[in-house]
């Protein structure tokens, strides 16, 4: 296929480097350097989509990021299919596959276009009014149907195979926007030696110089000058040039989020290349050089394919070498469209006529257009267009009314004027000010250390913009250096502008023919199908603030965020309200400037990097020995060790019985460990735990309870005193970081007079619990320097010595009710010591057990687990642990909370045991308890089950529960209503096994 609209000799890309692509299955030819939009236009294709609500045929409006219409689906494969890609931004690569969106069965014949006929029913607020009732139908009926009909593209239903990366960066001067102003600012700053980052959303920097054929700088045309500056900047070690990079968010303290599209433009991206890179840049100074965006004219049927922005047509011609039509009409309210007409005419394209809303326009461009023989209809408006899938004519009328004249065109260019891009400035919390003379909002009060230059600052003309930008870049660099002298002596010369283009003014609001009282479709917001009439209707229905008008009509709320529509919408609303534009106000711009992929936001944090997965030193042994693991916070913990043919219950039953019969090995390494060291260590412990510590002898351990100030249990654990000034504290696995934080908080801010320090040693020690009657026999042969006899090392003691030739802190303690030990060894030795203990254990029939068995064994003994049997509202008394609260103590964290009226009131939930009447029934954890199952619903719930297991050792189910007034209900029969029947339970003590505790020394 030949690209019939490509003009030989025009544009900046070699036509030799062909790139073929398909659009809706049809093959086309493009060239490298094209965007999808320019390549389609080169093939005479304007029709690229259907509108959101009315399914009207739509074409390419712009040549940049502001594009509201030409949204397509780019498909690389089933998993790499991207919806809502702006064809004006997507760079062409060989083999690119694109589909149009929101049409069925085809783009040229779309059944949904019936909505256009029915449009009187689809006025502003239609959805809000029509689908309000019945309420339930919204979720089940209306919303799915509406969503299906008013679609954008299709999201892939497979995981994203691409990867995304992230980079934090710091610089002295960050320049956002790589047009003439941005380049001048970057150059000025860079030459002084400070760190500069310049970012631009286009593939190549240059901004409006892409189309401004009249610009000459430093003896070159504007574009060539820009490329020269870019090349120079790239050679400088203090400068980073980021192209294809959008600054999407301006956050506090000059923190800017940018996304760099690294490989979307490549036919075959390398595997090492990310698709996108998220840059999070902290800049001392920010220079905003974000340019301006041309506005369309709001008139009847201004949305036909072929109707587009004048600057876009110029860009397609001057940059891409593509003609947007062969007989082009122009509708304008300012001078810039004349430049487009002149460029097109010079390239041999017929200009049907320029329709200028202004009376007697004058100036150099107008004169040149006249001299070129272009027909100019001044004081007139285009009031209508003809055509269906492509514009075929424009109908012209005097601004004041009267006779009409229809002129045939195959493209219609429009320019209502230029809107400064104050998006990022507004995001930075700067306040914009309306300039009534030129009808635009400009940066007013700054909230952050940034400066706007060039078109986004309302500076008209290339020379003025470069002057301003150059001065701003120099000043920013000087201030970033703190006033120090520039690193380089040679001051760069300010770029000299020899010829320039420049214009201002224009109009905002509806053009004649689409004014008040009309019911025509003159689109303000193309993407959300909002017309001038809709805005007026919103006002008639009572919307007064632009924020309300916006939400009622959805003007500016599509993915393009109203880049072309906001000003028109505002002007129409103001007009209808009889107020000035600043009185109605501008909606706040929010991040992101253009849509950001989730991939870029998530970047590295996926798969194994989604969250750290923590494994113990003994993990590899457990893995080799068939452990099933469970997630406990970030940790992987061995849950149970099934043998051949065992399910979880069988495995756990066997492990439970084996531990009590012989012994078991359990990896307790994840327990939090904190070393508390210093002469005031005991004093500190007294304040942080409910228990008394001063009199605990070195070499002994104690079960400690930690409260919050409100008196509720925060954590628990066994604490060993290694010496007068050194405690080895253990915490729950999940509680380790917060307990450390809690302790540091009190130490640093409430008790800073204490001479004590805290060090987390959780990961220093691997911990092997050996529990069971044979535990001592298993450990003793491997231990040196520790007398493990009961008299020498009673229950709740700690010794330091060696095991397997490496240092150990050996605790005698039990979380199973059996004689037990916890062997602490430096983590790198953990697995080898475990293996040695395993060999010894085998001689006694010991097993390895996991967290499930650990839970069952402790529940058989009524030992609580903080966070399971407590929930942040349980006091030591509630949990039956009053004995652990030092009665003579005058202070500890929580001591006052414990005496709060509600905490000492009768009837609090207390921890009890539950025995089901049918011993085979295992209660569900979390199940509610009632006294009378026959009472009407809602029943009075008097407690809930916190722990429940099958206990093979007891030959029955066991459960712990928090029950109102529980300890006064011993022996009572209560009920647990469940979906398939009520379960009878008897209230009991919390100890189900070995009530006397004799087995601790058994």
């Amino acid at each position: 296929m030949t690209a019939s609209y490509r003009i030989p000799g025009a544009g900046r890309f070699s036509h030799a480097k062909a790139a073929s692509f398909t659009f809706d299955g049809q093959s086309y030819a493009g060239v490298e350097g094209d965007t999808l939009a320019s390549a389609l236009l080169a093939n005479g294709v304007h029709l690229t989509g259907r509108s959101f609500k009315y399914h009207r045929p739509r074409g390419i409006l712009s040549a940049g990021a502001e594009e509201p219409n030409a949204l397509v689906q780019i498909v690389r494969d089933a998993a790499r299919t991207t919806p809502n890609v702006r064809a004006t931004v997507q760079e062409l690569y060989d083999g690119l596959t694109a589909h149009s969106q929101n049409r069925w069965p085809s783009l040229s014949f779309d059944v949904g276009a019936v909505n256009d006929m029915a449009s009187p029913f689809f006025s502003a607020g239609f959805y809000y009014k029509t689908f309000m009732w019945p309420k339930a139908a919204w979720k089940n009926l209306y919303e799915p149907k509406i969503r299906a009909a008013a679609g954008l593209g299709v999201a892939p239903d497979q995981p994203d195979p691409d990867h995304y990366s992230s980079r934090f960066a710091h610089c002295d001067v960050l320049v956002l926007g790589g047009g003439a102003a941005g380049l001048a600012a970057a150059l000025a700053a860079a030459e002084s030696g400070v760190r500069v980052v310049i970012a631009d959303e286009q593939a190549e920097l240059g901004g409006a110089l892409r189309f401004e054929s009249g610009a000459r700088i430093e003896g070159q045309d504007g574009w060539s000058w820009a490329q020269g500056v870019v090349a120079r900047l790239k050679t400088m070690p203090n400068v980073r040039v980021l192209s294809r990079t959008t600054a999407f968010g301006y956050y506090a303290q000059n923190f800017i989020g940018l996304t760099e599209r690294v490989s979307d433009h490549l036919a075959a991206p390398g595997r090492d290349l990310p698709r996108e890179r998220l840059w999070q840049v902290r800049a001392k100074k920010v220079v905003l050089a974000t340019g301006s965006i041309e506005r369309h004219m709001v008139f009847t049927d201004n949305d036909r394919p072929g109707v587009m922005l004048a600057s876009a047509a110029r860009t397609y011609l001057n940059h891409y070498g593509v003609a947007v039509g062969k007989n082009v009409g122009i509708f304008t309210a300012n001078d810039s469209a004349y430049a487009a007409a002149l460029d097109l005419k010079a390239a041999g394209i017929a200009i049907a006529a320029i329709v200028d809303l202004r009376d007697n326009p004058a100036g150099e461009l107008v004169d040149r257009a006249r001299a070129a023989g272009i027909e100019i209809h001044d004081g007139r408006a285009v009031v209508r267009t003809g055509g269906r899938l492509r514009v075929s004519s424009m109908t012209v009328q005097r601004r004041t009314g009267g006779g009409e004249r229809t002129i045939a065109v195959d493209a219609l260019l429009m320019s209502a004027g230029w809107t400064p891009s104050v998006h990022l400035f507004s995001q930075s919390r700067g306040k914009v000010v309306f300039n009534d003379e030129v009808k635009r909002f400009l940066p007013g009060t700054y909230a952050q250390d940034c400066v706007s230059v060039g078109a986004c600052n309302g500076t008209d003309g290339l020379a003025a913009s470069i002057d301003e930008a150059y001065a701003a870049g120099t000043k920013a660099a000087r201030e970033a250096r703190g006033g120090a002298a520039a690193g380089k002596s040679e001051k760069p010369a300010k770029p000299k502008v020899e010829a320039s283009e420049g214009w201002s003014r224009g109009m905002v609001g509806a053009a004649p023919g689409a004014g008040p009282g009309t019911t025509v479709k003159a689109f303000v917001d193309f993407q959300n199908d909002v017309t001038a009439k809709d805005i007026r209707q919103a006002v008639h229905e009572g919307m007064r603030s632009i924020e309300h008008v916006k939400r009622f009509t959805t003007n500016g709320m599509a993915t393009d965020q109203g880049k072309t529509s906001n000003m028109h919408g505002l002007a129409i609303a103001a007009d209808e309200l009889g107020k000035t534009i600043p009185e109605v106000g501008l909606t706040t711009f929010r991040a992101p400037y253009t849509p950001v992929t989730f991939g870029a936001i998530v970047n590295h944090a996926r798969g194994p990097l989604f969250e750290p997965t923590r494994r113990t030193a003994i993990h590899p042994w457990a893995e080799r020995n068939g452990a099933v693991f469970e997630d406990v916070g970030q940790w992987k913990r061995a849950w149970y060790f099934p043998q051949a043919g065992e399910d979880m219950h069988k495995a756990v039953d066997r492990e439970c019985v084996t531990v009590r019969k012989s012994a078991g090995l359990f990896d307790a390494s994840t327990l939090g460990k904190i070393e508390v060291v210093g002469p005031d260590a005991a004093k500190f412990m007294e304040l942080l735990y409910t228990n008394p510590w001063e009199k605990l002898e070195p070499g002994r351990c104690r079960y400690g309870i930690m409260l919050r100030e409100d008196g509720f249990i925060y954590d628990d654990g066994v604490v060993g005193r290694l010496s007068a000034d050194r405690f080895h504290v253990t915490t729950t696995t999940g509680g380790a970081p917060r307990v450390m934080n809690h302790m540091e908080d009190y130490l640093q801010t409430e008790f800073p007079h204490l001479n004590v320090w805290l060090t987390s040693t959780t990961e220093q020690w691997a911990v092997i619990a050996v529990q069971g009657p044979k535990s001592r026999e298993i450990i003793a042969p491997l231990v040196e320097g520790i007398d493990m006899a009961d008299e020498a090392m009673p229950h709740m003691s700690v010794r330091e010595g060696k095991i397997c030739g490496v240092p150990t802190r050996l605790f005698r303690m039990s979380f199973s009710g059996e004689r037990g030990f916890e062997v602490n060894v430096p983590a790198d030795y953990g697995e080898a010591v475990w293996e040695a203990l395993w060999v010894e254990g085998q001689k006694h029939g010991a097993c390895a057990y996991g967290t499930e068995t650990m839970h069952v064994l402790r529940a058989e003994k009524g030992y609580i687990i903080v966070g399971q049997d407590t929930d942040g509202t349980v006091t030591p008394n509630d949990a039956g642990l009053d004995w652990a609260v030092g009665k003579k103590k005058t202070d500890f964290v929580g001591i006052r909370g414990l005496t709060r009226p509600d905490l000492v009131a009768k009837g609090r939930k207390q921890l009890v045991g539950l025995r089901t009447k049918d011993p085979k029934i295992v209660l569900e954890e979390g199940a509610q308890i009632v006294a009378d199952p026959k009472q009407p619903i809602p029943m009075k719930m008097i407690g809930h089950v916190t722990s429940s297991y099958w206990s093979e050792n007891c030959g029955r189910s066991i459960a712990l529960a928090l029950l109102a007034g529980g300890r006064d209900r011993m022996g009572e029969t209560l009920h647990v209503p469940m979906p398939d029947g009520v379960i009878e339970v008897e209230v009991s003590g919390t100890v189900f096994f070995d009530e006397t505790g004799g087995r601790l020394n058994g």
């Binding site: 934090f168 090492d272 990961e763 220093q764 490496v806």
Partner: protein, 194 residues
């Protein structure tokens, strides 16, 4: 192009139980940057007030730094300022700083953490960019010079970062985070090289 990580023999012989350091010997590299798990080292977390600094310095054979974000090194031993009364002392020659501090009567806390931490070296011209994939600090030489050190974050893990040379860093993390940190650095390395 990036090379896949190399797994080496993960065993260090001692006279007693075998020492099996996490990720022992693993390394990976790409153009301009390498990521290498370093051998075990002796480490203590040392705490003490200004009054004890001289005595502790003397016992350790180096001057414990007073200035935030700085470190001191002597031979194979380094002391990193982590907080106003906190240093991480690392000895790569196998000499136990815990034993040195045991002789000091001045008020302090020394806790052995040799096994708590795993160290990874990130080296090469792209080292800074590799780390900045997940570390939000300014790591330019002017702000984070050779010898600078800081506890900070890398992605979702806490690390201690020490600049050992113009284009080389030592990353210390807790043992169970080493998998995450090493994997993160490998992925970041590929991007920094790209």
């Amino acid at each position: 192009m990036a090379r896949a990580p190399v797994k080496k023999q993960a065993v260090v012989k001692t006279d007693g139980a075998e020492r099996r350091p996490a990720l022992a010997g693993q390394e990976a590299s790409a153009t301009g940057v390498s990521v290498t798990v370093l051998p075990p080292a002796e480490r203590i977390s040392l705490r003490g007030s200004e009054a004890s600094r001289a005595a502790l310095s003397k016992a350790l054979g180096l001057t414990l730094p007073q200035t935030p974000k700085t470190s001191a090194a002597k031979g194979k031993r380094a002391a990193l300022w982590l907080g106003p009364d906190e240093w991480l002392v690392i000895d790569e020659a196998g000499k136990d700083p815990l034993a040195d501090c045991a002789k000091v009567s001045a008020l302090h806390s020394a806790v052995g953490i040799s096994h708590r931490n795993v160290a990874v070296a990130v080296a090469g011209p792209a080292a800074e960019a590799t780390l900045n994939a997940g570390c939000p600090q300014d790591l330019s030489l002017a702000v984070f010079p050779v010898g600078a050190c800081s506890r900070t974050v890398l992605g979702k893990a806490e690390i201690v970062l020490l600049r050992t040379a113009q284009d080389a860093f030592r990353v210390e993390c807790w043992r169970s985070f080493s998998d995450y940190v090493f994997t993160f650095l490998q992925e970041a390395m590929r991007d920094a090289a790209a």
